[in-house]
Symmetry: D2
Subunit: 386 residues, 4 copies
């Protein structure tokens, strides 16, 4: 499977193309739209989010809501477009880079003092295209019982260590949450934290946990370093703008433990139906986060992503005017105060892409019928073998 | 640049092949050997390390110590080979998977009860090949002033928050360290921690920091999610066996901060020669870890990798005999107690590969002469432009 | 550079996305439109061509007619769309596969009896997207003096062995040609041949030659089999629907020659400016077609592509009804009689893509300014060195 | 599946590495050796061939003759090595490029006047590594009834238009042929032709046909231009040194035909067992060469490759001394007169690689057991569906 996204923040819109996606999968643009809406949600978002009422338009690859096996193209129109590909726009040059954004590193890379030429693409707007791809992957994965959901564990200094019981528990506990949080008590403190930051014209980071349910054992591979499922997931999560850390399972905590305290002992029951992973093997703990040796174990895959505060502050930091190299304050724009909920939704999408890729590597990718047949035989043989 | 490594733990040896590496680079196998030795070093390693006195033999791609531009092949012979590719070996089947290793996930993926067929490749032995590639990349990068070095910050519960002043400071402070640590005081406690774990037949994890010095601004790209330098570094670091977490710059700490406290303000001096990054731009902090918007800023790139305890314990955990599905203890083998020093060295190699790839993407890859010319012109223009 | 195209014959339209294209290149959609028009031209086309008045709309990657370095997305709307991605279309099932088309091979691959699900993507309509990409690549290459043009040498049994003097000669001689032919006499016979075929409700094949002018020496590489420029060109040309043969330079004729008669002897003049290839080296013949050892020599690159007759005949061949497996005649549809002119235009585009990829591999791909600087230095050094 | 080969003509040897090859395939190095011997065979080869008694040594990826799923590494030691990677060799600089070889194009690309640095890799010696990979792929494909064999149809001006009845017919008729030719009469004339060329110190080209038997319908795809099986085959065949033309099925002849005369009409029989392709569909002709719409039809896949005369002539052509730019004759070396038999064997290998890649794309790539299961189900469903 190959994916390319395109699109600028103030251009015509975002385009995503997926090649190598199987034939015969039911894909609904309404479901994509729901994910696009989730991406704009969460307490702490600015006014821009009101503008972004995104609709996914499927341009190719789908007929009567069923994929054709051909590349799928999705278009998400921008509402407030200002840059026309083929017409001189009137936008003033932006010459003051924001610290922590791509503005300066891009300006240096390309030798271009108008940082607008960087931020148009480096903007988080681009993640809308990723979410459209992620939603298509999620719709595929659901056919095999794979579901992906994030929840927020940290906002700034406020941290929740509550763990969900299972996938359904996440759905239940986050249903009415403003911050996609499963910990009602801590959520209040988090909201307070955001309100304070907002008052002080500041931005604030956060941490999201991503729970991937129902992946059968055997997805990913240790045969080459770049086929490991954890490496791929880390690649895609770290590619999200503002993400600065990624963990699998216990993550950094695992480094502080003894092996005897932390490794997930292996158990077996003949009552295979009782176990979600469709084998008799089970664990009493899941510190590995569902991946051992770069391969899914059949336990839930659990990831964490740390997001730094957004770069655009209303209380601007020191910067430099690239025209005259004078010391100035960075530009003040309306902006989000905290976008960790969105970050979690985007992380779900990136995880869905990674899982779909490794899943198709194992089970083939021509058509739903064929993949389903291959999958069922694998599960049957797995069950028979052990 | 394309890389493939091959090799089993008890096979003939490890092979690595690098395609797309420039012509005209001086490569010495003695320098690879030094890195291979570093990979085997560190307090806490077991007896196996004594066996592994690795020598890199360059089979192709180099003439008179200079690369030809053709694929480079390196062979590292195994000393204690037992598995012959073409001869029936006498090794007994291994049917008891170790928790936290690839044994069980591999057995399920491939439907094979002899977990030896998994662990031969899933073994950390394979990282020797990566280190040989990493050393070749390091020898290339040195031509452009890029140097990479790791140091250990955590062993189990013992944590050091000392930061090095600069790259030389790492070299100086780790020179006589048994644990590749820059903090002499904490190192003693770390050694104690390892000794205790060893006595208790346990294994223990750790954290290494990787410092990449001298990368010019502009390496990596935000133009597509999979061209971001931080994503690529995270991919390669997380692909190291036992690594469960990766951070760039402040990492998870960054999520707990306000933007105003943490973003690296931008400053400029006309005295460009005073700055290592060959531009007039500089920062007073480096919380971003040298990467903004997926692109190097010119500040040192700083990464962290968390390693879980080794899976093979002499105090074995619960497992299952795959022949009869009976509950048993995992097999007891001699093993390392702590391998975080090696993990850091491997992380250096993986980082060197990532940086080389993105560097060649920017500057072309035909020959040293041409890349050097392109590089110098870029730096000159960068300096002229700002 | 990565390219994905999407789009069905009767869907919303064709989408193409190009990732890794340099920043700072002037791209005009009007120029793409001219190429799209050329793709629809040529004596022997059916009525469908009248419908296809294609317009390229740039959705992303370009601002004020200048590329941003971000992925470029182009949309070409279908005029007669009948298949809606998200709405049940009324199109009847097509169950009689056309011999020589993808209908049956696709139906077998995907286990689907409605061959419409195959032909929607397998249709030559998809090549419009390729031409849009090709035109963008051509606009890039023109900055480095590289121009690509095809001409028809064979239509059915009528063959011309006239060779153009140079690139300008092709332009001059094909200007008023209905068949993009440089041989006025043979063109008349070719037109007659097409008229005869049309009368007999038949289709007819042809051969096009592609001339790539101005590629400097050193593009492509023999360092690995899949980096050879001739291999890549062959890959892309053979990927055009209906192309069944590809030649470089003398091609199959070369196999019939002695080395002493056919290899292009090497000569040198100190008067370097006299030679187009910007070195003093020159050849008196160009039987190698401008590529030796998988690398451009600096002489024009000359390719040939053989196109079989179109699969859709108005005088239908034997086939099978997939519903009841009865012997039937294939379906009769309006269709082109000969599309070799279009095939040549598409081949130009595919060649432009291949050359651009290998060119960027050599000279970097960040920005026009940087590539231009690298290119000039390479040419200067080349000239100085020899 | 990813493949990298490495190795210089006078270095330690050739290395090939295959990543993504399934677990559980029986691979014997003796069978590789037979293919390596075939590569050195054929009337018209020079003395060097006597030196090259190649033996494949499997360094990784195989245990007890069975693949492990890990990367396979094969080493073919050079007998007459002169260039040591790490030691100064005494070889004199070569400064006179041979026309038609990579010597000059490489020298220009890399700015290096010692053309030995080019020809060491550009040499046909490198194809030994390809043949080792090809043999491994052939051993895999045989499990699915896929067999690949070439035969020579042209040597210089002598051309045979005899076609084999089927795969066995090729084996039978070429068994005692010095030129791997199925046409005894023409073979005599071909041998005469080679003897004449040899007397005149010249070299001579030829054409080989490649027959791929037993590929089930549905391998390859038209969904994206670069997934077409014919494009991939063309890519790999044109990557063979000295190949200048590639045809699928009728090839260039197809361009000269009417559709009604040439397209392969579709027929169906209920007696499915009678047909090799395991479906009821069959054709009375195979002008498409077993590929329609970029997908295998189930008929034999038939390709042709045209090889130019070898570049190294004992009757040397005009060239230039790169040291002083004086006009000189190219260097005289012992050399082959005609290598078309070897070219055919290499083409078999490249075809085997292409087919294996597309086959694994369809059926998954984890293990033989799993692929076999997926394959059988696909064939069963195919048979049931139609």
């Amino acid at each position: 499977m190959r994916i390319i996204t395109a699109g600028e923040s103030h251009g015509q819109g975002n385009v995503s193309v997926i090649e190598g996606f199987p034939k015969g999968i039911k894909i609904e643009s309404e479901i994509i739209d729901i994910e696009l809406k989730r991406r704009m949600s969460g307490f702490g978002r600015g006014k821009r989010m009101a503008i972004e009422d995104d609709k996914a338009e499927i341009l190719a690859g789908v007929r009567n809501k069923i994929t054709l096996g051909s590349p799928i193209a999705v278009f998400i129109k921008n509402k407030d477009l200002k840059i026309f590909a083929e017409q001189k726009d009137e936008l003033p040059h932006l010459v003051i880079p924001r610290p922590s954004h791509a503005d300066l590193s891009g300006a240096m890379k390309y030798g271009d003092k108008d940082v607008r030429n960087m931020l148009e693409r480096a903007s988080a707007r681009e993640t809308a295209a990723r979410v459209s791809v992620g939603s298509i992957c999620k719709q595929f994965l659901l056919n095999f019982g794979i579901r992906i959901r994030s929840y927020v564990t940290d906002v700034g200094a406020i941290s929740s260590d509550k763990k969900p019981l299972d996938y359904e528990d996440i759905l239940n506990k986050t249903r009415d949450s403003k911050l996609n949080c499963i910990d009602k008590n801590k959520e209040k403190a988090m909201i307070k934290e955001i309100e304070n930051a907002e008052k002080e014209k500041d931005a604030i980071g956060g941490i999201a946990e991503i729970w991937i349910d129902g992946v059968c054992p055997g997805v990913g591979s240790f045969m080459h370093f770049d086929t490991r499922l954890d490496a791929k997931l880390s690649f895609y999560l770290m590619s999200i703008p503002a993400v600065k850390g990624v963990e699998v399972g216990l993550g950094f905590e695992y480094a502080k433990k003894r092996g005897s305290q932390s490794h997930d002992s292996i158990y077996y029951t003949k009552n295979k139906e009782s176990r979600k992973n469709q084998t008799g093997f089970y664990r009493k703990t899941n510190n590995s986060g569902g991946i051992e040796g770069g391969i899914s174990t059949g336990e839930p895959i659990i990831l964490r992503a740390a997001m730094k505060p957004i770069a655009t502050l209303r209380k601007p930091l020191d910067s430099v005017n690239l025209k005259n190299m004078a010391k100035v304050k960075a530009i003040v724009e309306r902006s989000d105060t905290c976008a960790i909920v969105a970050c979690g939704v985007i992380a779900e999408s990136m995880a869905a892409i990674a899982i779909t890729e490794s899943f198709l590597d194992k089970f083939g990718c021509d058509s739903f019928k064929e993949i389903q047949c291959n999958y069922k035989n694998y599960i049957k043989n797995l069950s028979k073998h052990f």
